[in-house]
Structure formats: structure tokens, C-alpha cells
Symmetry: C2
Subunit: 310 residues, 2 copies
Amino acid sequence: MLRSAFLWLSERRGVFNFVKRNGLARRFASRFVAGETLDTAIAAARDLNQRDITVTLDLLGESVTSREEAREASNQAVEILNRIHASGVRGNVSVKLTQMGLDIDRTVALENMTRILDRARELQSFARIDMEASAYVEPTLDLFRNGLHERFGDTTGVVIQSMLRRSADDVADLIARHARVRLVKGAYSEPASIAFPDKRDVDRSFATLAERLLAEGNYPAIATHDERLIRHVTEFVAHEGIANSRFEFQMLYGVRRDLQDRLRREGYNVRVYVPFGTQWYPYLMRRLGERPANVAFIVGNLLKETVSRR
Amino acid sequence: MLRSAFLWLSERRGVFNFVKRNGLARRFASRFVAGETLDTAIAAARDLNQRDITVTLDLLGESVTSREEAREASNQAVEILNRIHASGVRGNVSVKLTQMGLDIDRTVALENMTRILDRARELQSFARIDMEASAYVEPTLDLFRNGLHERFGDTTGVVIQSMLRRSADDVADLIARHARVRLVKGAYSEPASIAFPDKRDVDRSFATLAERLLAEGNYPAIATHDERLIRHVTEFVAHEGIANSRFEFQMLYGVRRDLQDRLRREGYNVRVYVPFGTQWYPYLMRRLGERPANVAFIVGNLLKETVSRR
């Protein structure tokens, strides 16, 4: 279905004309980005909490090239934690190591993450380390294994992409460490030597890794909008007698709200990833531009949701 | 200078408002992209040839996920070679392996590149294999070393990024193979474990690698707009008695046209990299979005050129 939708879209100049038209791009963005300020993000978080859904706030930003910018980004993450605490919102934060200085120096990123995690621990909160393109996987996991996890334990966690061939080994290692893991399919373009090119293999890998994390992991986050995989997970936990309190589903802000609510009604923990900030334009363009399928994916989801509401 | 320009820009919401306004984005694009069709690209190539500058045509496109799309992309590259030949334009092509199917399967990319290089050889032309983010460096060089270079020799070449720590070894290996190399600084965000985070180290690496390629390489392409490095190269070749015919400078379409013309007047070979095609929007957004410094770089170059023309 998505494949044919993609082919249909790829043949049409209209897709590019669509994102070119500024009004539409902004309207489109407001659907997937919770405003430009921390105030608007907290308001969005409150709305989600009303639906009994927890949040992860993510301040959109690009990779930084100076120590000052990295320091400023870590200050902003601390400020988000403070505001979450002060407002009583049920949520935590996600941060990117490239915003914390991983392109500058390992120790800069370590220092900034330590500042954030010190505060997260004080507030009994949590800060997830987001994953980026494959070149960042080893440096990110290295920082987590050799420094952050030992010191901060369950105050932090990482992300594993089922599309990557290495992920089975990484999951085994992270389970042995009793580390918190969010499982995603992965959205970066990667060479076939590193990632499974076939969507079916990515899905198969997701199902296998999800089972391992659910059976032996530490409160894994199953982050997908794929109904088939979600059903696989709910059937697996029912069959294995794994309590709903031992894991959570995660979805993106603005994507499949119907599914978010349905899973919550069925008694599963659901967390929504809420991106916000002024830098939504490059973020949205990358989402749409990097991988043409994302356009089909998002449009497809909009359609599906519209249909399911009728 | 660029650093302060970047800081100035990064503080201003205006930068994002700027790219948001569609009219400006399109006008901006037309400065750096030679139209949407092969006809417009051939016309741009003719204009450059008039200034005694050769070209490399690059059809903009995203990474593909199906064999059909990859096959179609290779057909388009063949068509570009045919049109260059038929029109008498002095130029060749650059192609991305992700457009040829490297995310699908190594052999798909090999097959499509073979088709392009067969035609390039028939026409006594050349097809450069572009370089992409660091995850693609080893798969790309592997395909070149184990397959393409042995079979097609000087009909093809690769790109080396001075920002990557591995590049000194890669250059030594490529020199030993007598392979054609384009040297660039590199524009992707990469972790400090893989790439030099300090701009000065990237420049130092560029100077060293350029010297090696000029002294021992096979018609290297020195691709930079950095006047200091260009001066370093011209002084080096003068001192070493290396003929101008043994290398070329390369610059991007629309960037520092004054410098392009000046170097040509001074007797150096100059080639301009000409991107074209309907997919300019994600290309431009990535250029601007992926690395904020690119905004400063481009705006800085526009200003410099404006000033130097007064």
C-alpha cells in the first residue's frame, strides 16, 4: 500500500510543489511540531496528559560546532526538566548528542549530558539519548556504556534501530546491562552493508528485538505506528504473561492519535514524543526530503486517521 | 569571520523566516541549481564552456529504495552522457551510489554503475562517483577498488573528504592504484571520533592531501572555494614545477564565479559542478538545514562576490 502510494507520489511534481508552498508547509508542521516555545510544548503535554498519555519533550535543533552552543543546548534541556517538574506534567526529555557536542569532542558531550542527568536524577525524572545516523551509533553507545549508564542507571536510556544489522548484538549487550532501551525501526538512509534494505527484514528484526526486550529488558519503549507490529507485541505479552506496567508504547506527536488513544484505553502505557522549537523547518524538510517514503508515510497516516474517524 | 557570521545568523529567527518565504527560497535555489531539466543544465554548461570552464552535471535525487528506481536513475545518467556528447558540451557526470541502489544491494549499485561507465567509456567521457555521509565511505570505496576501477580505469574516480580522519590512508591507497580523486573538505555532520572537529585541522588535512595528490596522483580535482587553500595549491605546483594540465580546480555552480574566472584566466583548469533537476528543494533545504554553517557559508560567499564586483 505504502509502496504504491509512494510511487504515485514520486511521479507527481505536486509533492514538491506542495512542500514549496509555504502556507501549507507551516500548517503541515503545526500538525507534527508542538509550537515554537517551551510554553506551547508544555500546553501540548498537558493535553496529552489529559488523555492519560505521558510525553517526551524534544527541543528541535541542529548539530552544534562550538562548545558554547553545546553548553547552551544542555542548559535548555535542564530548563525543560525544570519546567516539566514545576508544571506537574507527566513527562521527560529526549536529547541528541550532536546537540551536546559529540561532533566537537567526546568529553564535551559527556560533560553536558552529566549536567542534564544530574538534574534529571534530582527531579526523579529521565533523559533519553536519541539515536542519529549510523556513524553516531558506536560513539553514542560508547558514551552510554562507558560513563553515563554506570553513573546514572535508570535515569537515562538509549535507542536501538531494528533496521541496523548490528542491533541484535547491541540489544543483547544492553539487556545484560539492564539498560533502558527505546526500539524504533529507524528512518535514516543507510547502505545495505549496514542496514537491512528490505522492509520485511526490518519488521522481522523489530519483532524479534521487541520480544527479547519485553521478556528480559528493563521497561522497554516500543516505538512504532505499525499496527501489525503492535498487535504482535500485545499478543506476545498476553501469551508470556508480561504485565502492561513493564513496558510502554511510544508514538510521534500528531501521528495516529486514534491508535494512541485506543492503546491507552486497552490499558497499555503510551508516551508521545513531542518535538518543539523554532528549528522546525529544517527538521520537517529533512523528514520529508531525506527519505521520500516519509512523505507517503505521513500522508498515508493522515488518510488512515481521517478514514478511521468517519 | 564565518564563525561570527554564523553566530550572528544563529541568533536571528530571520534566517528561518528567510528560507520559509517560498519566493526567496526558489530565487535562492535558481542561483545554485541550473534549472529543472536537462535542457536547462546543458544551456548552463554551454555558458560555462563559453567562459572556458568545463562542467560536471549532477541530476539531483534522493536515495532510492527499489531496483526500478535505481535502474531508472542509471538510465538518466546515461541519457546525460548522451546529451553531453550530442551537444558538444565539454563536461562529464557525477553520480551518487545511493541513487544507483547502494541502500538496496551492492550488486545493484555495481550493475547500474557498470551500465553508466560502459557508456562513458564508449563516449570517451567520465563519470565521477560522489561521496556521501561517512557510513557510505567504505561501501563506496569498496565498490570502486573491487570492481569498478580495475575494469574502467580513468573513466571513473572517487571523492575524498579532508575532514575524515581515515582520508590520509585512503589517499595513499588511491595514489598507489593511480586512481582519479576529487578532494573536498566535506559537508556532512560527523562525530569527532570519525572527523576532525576543528576547522583548522580540516584545512591542514586538505593542504597535505592536496600536496600528495598533486605530486603523485592522477589528475586530481581540487574542489574548494577557500582562497587560502587555493593559494597554497598554486604556490605548491609552481614550486614543484607541476604543470597546470596535471590537475584541475572544481567549484560549485553559482559560488564565487569571480574566483572561477580568475583562476581560468591564470591558466588553471577549472570545472564547475552543476546540479539540476526537480528535486532541488530537499537538496537546498539539506544544504541549509543539515549544517547551519552552510547558510553562513553561502551568504558569506554572496556578500564577498558582491563586494569584489564593486
